[in-house]
Amino acid sequence: MFDPVRVARDFPIFSRGDLTYLDSAATSQKPSSVIRAVEDYYSCCNSNVHRGIYRISEEATELYEKSRENISHFIGSTDPTGTVFVRNTTEAINLLSYTLGRKLAPGDEILLSVMEHHSNMVPWQLLRERGVVIRYADIDSDGKLDLEDLKSKISRKTRIVSLTHASNVLGTINPVSEISRTAHEASALFILDAAQSVPHMPVDVRSIDCDFMAFSGHKMLGPAGIGVLYGKQDLLSDLPPFMGGGDMIREVRLDGATWNTLPYRFEAGTPNIEGAIGLSAAVDYLRNLGMEDVRYHEKDLMSYVMKRAEEIQDLIYYGPRDPEIHGGVFSFNLGDIPAFDLESELKGVRRPESSHELHPHDISSFLDQSGIAVRAGHHCAMPLMTRLGVQATSRASFYIYNSRKDADKLFIALENAKKAFAR
């Protein structure tokens, strides 16, 4: 088992000494090995890939393709041609909605859940123009996916089930292998938003048997602007192109073009070469820690956080109480922060000065004064906020460089915030 305090020493940003970073669900910090990998690439062999017939271009191409293989192995795929480099999760899901969407007919259904990030919701909603119907599986009172509800909404009309592996708000880890089977039994495609799982736990695309999967490099120690769309080879081959341009073609004539092989068909234009190399270094770093241990560390930390949370009066937190199915994300409010309702507010049902809630914005500003970085707001999950009946939440998210000490700092600062804002 690794020691998070020692891990933190590998991350230059913590040499500032004044930072308690609890926003890794938004983006993670970067270890020196990743920063160095990007720098080394620029210093040793920067050039364009797949084009130059000269040494450094061949070296760059090899580094880029080795990175693809490495990342592909990391997610349990044996076939690197199914690993397409994109900018981020959002782009991967847009690629899927655009290409798969072209094959859908009016009345076809796509099943999502109410806990999805906007990036696994809005790209699918765009298909409503074509008469595609979007349905949403609900959650239960513990913030778990309601599997009965999900199953009742799958039918012969369901063409795609697209679901987050781990919620960026509730922390809920969904039973994706089971849902994958359910989707496949109905002949639907199963797509996994793994933005919050690949960085935090072992993920194996073969055992989950997902058809496509999306994740972002920047949330897993890698650079921003690089992400992955994984797809099963035969399914990817079937998709029409997404963006046209250089690299994605085999041959271009004035009256048309033919497409390149996988994965290049989906990598139009000069790719983010240094991003891929940096992400590969990030994967090396995580593999060296061991993804089982990463998961164990976060589970342990979350058990501690939930225990501490119980000691704070008026603290409400969201998501499963069972740390086995709760990732390193802790969303909470001090007091109830219900959605604003003009009618009842004008009727004077609730006087602001008599309530003891503390708004997430005030909490995050206050914590910032002690160097604690947390997020406040809707976390790109507005429908989930509505479902929870809250206007917003605060969110502390933990990663490999966070220890119990960071959790202690958070809770001490929260007690102080309550005093500072007491009405």
Binding site: L346, H361, F421
Partner: protein
Amino acid sequence: MNDEEISVEAILDHYRNPHNYGKLESSNASFTEFNPICGDTVHIQLSIADGTIQDARFVGRGCSVSQASASMLTDLLKGKKVEFLESMTEPEFLGILGIKVGPAREKCALLSLTAAKKAVKGAT
């Protein structure tokens, strides 16, 4: 206390005990403005006669900065000409609030001013 601490205290005072909170029966101009980033909401109600703001009230929910600024603005507007509100610039209003806010929270501080200006535009 330095100047900044004094104004933070002032904000907290208004947040703890908001002035002019609730329904304005005589309102003939109102608007609800909200910040989609954080959900902060302010609903401003004005009662305007002969080009003068006779009374101002608000309801809302959100962080201390957004709610205190609505409390201070409604205090400020009472008895003022509509043009006073229309010509008030964002930097002027931030100056009146007297707190230093970063770009993220500037939106919270300005929410009430935006709501009030929009209320006047749609006034009946």
